[in-house]
Symmetry: C2
Subunit: 114 residues, 2 copies
């Protein structure tokens, strides 16, 4: 109950923004993305594998990101993703959308607390 489910719901719409943002300008693999989200949010946001990997597949299916396998000796195989041109366009949309959403919440709630 309580905090688990709140974060869970809040995370939904922002997941794409997070992943696309982290891939902006540099390639990263899935596990790295998950860890980055966890560490940068200081543990407030955690993406489980059963959410993260399927989401990456979905974004790749849509043509927003492009993955490729990289195998180096003395290292587990990794799938590195990069933003596509279409992905960059969507990222820009998501950034605008997120800012507008936060502002809308602020207007409705009054946000004396923030």
């Amino acid at each position: 109950m309580s905090n688990q489910s709140i974060d869970r719901d809040l995370k939904k719409g922002s997941a794409e923004l997070l992943i696309l943002s982290l891939l902006n300008g540099r390639q990263r693999h899935g596990y790295e993305i998950g860890k980055l989200i966890e560490t940068r949010s200081k543990g407030a946001l955690v993406f489980r594998v059963a959410s993260l990997y399927p989401l990456l597949y979905k974004l790749e299916d849509r043509g927003w990101i492009q993955g490729r396998w990289v195998e180096k000796p003395g290292q587990r195989r990794r799938r590195y993703y990069r933003l596509t041109a279409a992905g960059r366009k969507i990222l820009a949309e998501r950034q605008v959308g997120w800012a507008a959403f936060v502002e809308a919440i602020r207007r409705i709630t009054g946000a004396e607390y923030a």
Copy 2:
């Protein structure tokens, strides 16, 4: 496609915060809550009846809000809701949670765009 679904996902976790905030300090009925969200967000956020009313029932079931029917002559019957003590506690939690969430997103994305 696009904007419809983003807002839809983003809205999920914040719906409770919005409703509890609007009931903070004053009673309101369902239709009024829906209209307030729409107008204060300048149309950016719209709660359809099939989302809004069931959500109100859920919040009432949990004991966070308390509804009562009000019938006045020359007026449609309305169900007015007020925050309960438990609801005020949850609202405070949601406010903290929302602020933490926004901050986490900012840290992860860098938010050069904001």
